[in-house]
Symmetry: C2
Subunit: 92 residues, 2 copies
Amino acid sequence: MSDSNAVLIGKKPVMNYVLACITLFHGGAKEVSIKARGRSIGRAVDVAEVVRRKFLPDAKVKRIDIGTDQLDPREEGGQPTNVSTVEIVLER
Amino acid sequence: MSDSNAVLIGKKPVMNYVLACITLFHGGAKEVSIKARGRSIGRAVDVAEVVRRKFLPDAKVKRIDIGTDQLDPREEGGQPTNVSTVEIVLER
């Protein structure tokens, strides 16, 4: 799948990302990948659920992956920190 | 799978839930289900990742499900609210 069909979840309201997913599907995408990390992970699940339940009932969860990203330390000599990640792939 | 192998994620530190998962596995469980909803969803992913990466490298993510729970309105006549849920099943 091309990464151009990815929606990266940040701190904006859920509906912004829902709209981004729907726009991709309406533009012909067969799959949309919803990616988030850290505190945005819950919002990624919200986005997938709203897309599926309110807007595109024929969209299905194809795959969900979790993982860990290592972030560079903020200060020199500091410890790298780990942050959890999630990728939810919807298909229709 | 019996629900006695479920760990429900709340507001406590991640390591509390990690310890609960490890205790279940050491007690002979083949599968442990990590369940969370709303703002605890990110913490559920943290728990699964820490268990898998730091403590039980032979544990695998068997399945991840997302869903929506409808909560009763707080006041009479109010709207029910939706909350996203996640279930991460680890197996070894």
